[in-house]
């Protein structure tokens, strides 16, 4: 367990992704795994699981594209965060990921199939964000 809370980790990842000027596969992978961790941790019956489920399933669908990479284990102090703050940090994180994928993962240098896959991935995340906002 580290000193970093879930919200701090999510905000750090969001900042890194927003600041990136090229495709950052590593951070996007970390961000998606982090969002999945948030879903697993905060989606309890008392914290409004429906919105977490709508977003979490979309994130998981996109995160599966990274299964060729080494998986990530995330150790953060999630119990130090309020669910509402965690939720907002997660939506900001997922929005940043969707924009990053749309901007940097769909370039003309990629094969058409991959381009289409990432376009759809960004669309899946945006549609989920639209559903929960």
């Amino acid at each position: 367990v580290t000193d970093m809370t879930y919200v701090q980790a999510a905000e750090t990842a969001t900042h890194t992704i927003v600041s990136a000027h090229a495709a950052d596969v590593e951070t996007v992978h970390v961000a998606l795994e982090l969002a999945l961790h948030g879903w697993a941790w905060f989606a309890t019956d008392t914290t409004g699981p429906i919105r977490w489920d709508l977003l979490g399933t979309a994130v998981q669908q996109v995160a599966a594209s990274f299964h060729y990479r080494d998986p990530i284990v995330i150790l953060v102090q999630a119990d130090a965060d309020e669910p509402e703050r965690a939720w907002h940090a997660t939506t900001r994180l997922v929005a940043a990921v969707a924009e990053h994928i749309g901007n940097y993962f769909t370039g003309d240098t990629l094969p058409p199939l991959q381009r289409r896959h990432w376009r759809e991935s960004a669309a899946v995340l945006r549609t989920a964000l639209g559903a929960v906002r």
């Binding site: 429906i50 998986p71 150790l75």
Partner: protein, 435 residues
């Protein structure tokens, strides 16, 4: 830059124009003509936005009067347009400039929207497909109506300029007097638009506001097989048969997509209080178990997976109607049973892989990479057992939901192509197996 940001730019420019119209006066007919011309352009762009937002909308059921609102707005906007006004090069004039900025911003917002919904050839993207089905429309229509009301504030000042007690110019041109009559008449009826603008929507943020321009290429797979919530019933039925009839083709990503769909149906049902929290939690446990199971997407597009993913998008975007929801909810335990059976067969075929990991030494950050090997799964692996626990929980809770009248599971004959109701012992034996 998103559609919403351009609309915000337009709103800001219109607010500035309204302020300018109050604090400044025109000193020539050219300036009045210029302001009227840019005002007409703003009206044109607003009309285009409404047309794009409502593309394909039909007179809607109660609670979603998008088509009616769009018609009201478009009638009002066309009425408001005047023939007067023409942009001419001349001395810069703040009001015209601000209306020009608003018109340009609305034009770009319209281009972004058009790149997704394409009113002539049909939707070009997933988002366009969802908008065409109604997602985000009410919020977008309300936003346009609010812009129209801001423009009406500018118009009230224009009326004063042209023909008020202290007109900006002592002898207004005849064409400006005609414009005055049209604008005054329009302002008298703008109350209907105000009604739309004041409507409370679920959220200011909506799918439409988040749009960025769509890529040029159309996705044929995406567009050729659209799925609406009502279609999800047949998607589940087809999936059920496919899982049973083609066990040799089932991969982990199919099981993940099917389980995801199960959770989304459970989520929709939970919203309407049709199922217990325990049943939804069972599906959540099941899908989250895929965090430990390798389920990468296939290297080439897979028709079955595409359809499941489209159904998932449809369920996230729209709430199914009561009849559809009932049909979907009734199929939940059947889906869980089918996934469980398919999982069992996939394990026997050796196509399921789970993580076998150990923490490496990089412990200075919050996020720890692990040295990973995907190893062939067996029922005792944590990911697999969690998946089975979740599915069994969902099936058990569904059984209690229907007061003991458990929907018949389907059993497969050894040939793999015969369907028959399962015996009551099927569930019990699977539970035993899961341990």
């Amino acid at each position: 830059v998103t559609y919403g940001q351009y609309v915000d730019d337009a709103r800001l420019a219109l607010l500035e124009a309204a302020q300018t119209a109050v604090t400044s006066r025109a000193d020539s007919h050219r300036q009045v003509a210029d302001a009227l011309a840019w005002r007409n352009r703003v009206l044109h762009e607003l009309d285009r936005l409404v047309e794009l937002i409502a593309t394909g909308a039909r007179p809607a059921p109660v609670g979603q009067p998008v088509a009616d609102d769009a018609m009201t707005l478009r009638r009002s906007l066309r009425w408001a347009r005047t023939a007067a006004g023409r942009t001419e090069p001349g001395r810069p004039f703040a009001l015209s400039d601000q209306l020009g900025v608003a018109a340009e911003a609305l034009s770009v917002a319209g281009d972004i929207l058009a790149s997704h919904v394409d009113p002539i050839n049909g939707p070009r993207s997933t988002e366009g497909l969802q908008i065409a089905r109604g997602a985000g429309r009410p919020e977008a229509i309300v936003e346009v109506a609010q812009l129209v009301m801001t423009l009406a504030t500018v118009d009230r000042r224009l009326v004063v300029w042209i023909g008020g007690d202290e007109p900006a110019l002592p002898s207004p041109a005849a064409k400006h007097v005609r414009a005055l009559r049209i604008i005054s008449g329009w302002l008298a009826t703008v109350g209907r638009v105000a009604g739309i603008a004041s409507r409370t929507t679920s959220s200011k943020r909506c799918l439409v506001r988040d749009l960025v321009v769509a890529p040029g290429e159309r996705d044929p797979v995406l567009i050729s097989a659209p799925v609406a919530p009502a279609d999800c019933v047949s998607v589940l039925d087809d999936l059920h048969l496919w899982l049973i009839r083609h066990p040799d083709q089932v991969e982990a990503h199919h099981l993940a997509a099917a389980t995801r769909l199960g959770l989304l149906v459970a989520t929709a049902a939970r919203r309407s209080r049709c199922i217990s929290a325990a049943e939804a939690a069972g599906w959540r446990t099941a899908i989250q178990a895929f965090g430990r199971i390798a389920a990468p997407p296939p290297p080439v597009p897979d028709e079955q997976l595409t359809r499941l993913d489209q159904a998932a998008i449809a369920l996230r975007s729209d709430r199914p109607d009561d009849q559809t929801l009932t049909a979907l909810t009734d199929r939940l335990p059947i889906l869980a049973g089918a996934v469980r059976t398919a999982l069992k067969r996939a394990l026997k075929r050796g196509v399921m892989f789970t993580q076998d990991k150990a923490l490496d030494s990089r412990t200075r950050t919050a996020i720890h990479h692990v040295i990973t090997m995907w190893t062939r799964a067996d029922p005792t692996d944590l990911g697999i057992s969690n998946l089975l626990v979740g599915l069994n929980t969902a099936i058990g809770a569904a059984g209690r939901r229907s007061d003991g009248v458990f929907p018949p599971l389907v059993r497969v004959s050894p040939a793999g192509n015969t369907l028959a109701p399962a015996s009551p012992s099927t569930t019990a034996s699977a539970r035993t197996w899961s341990r």
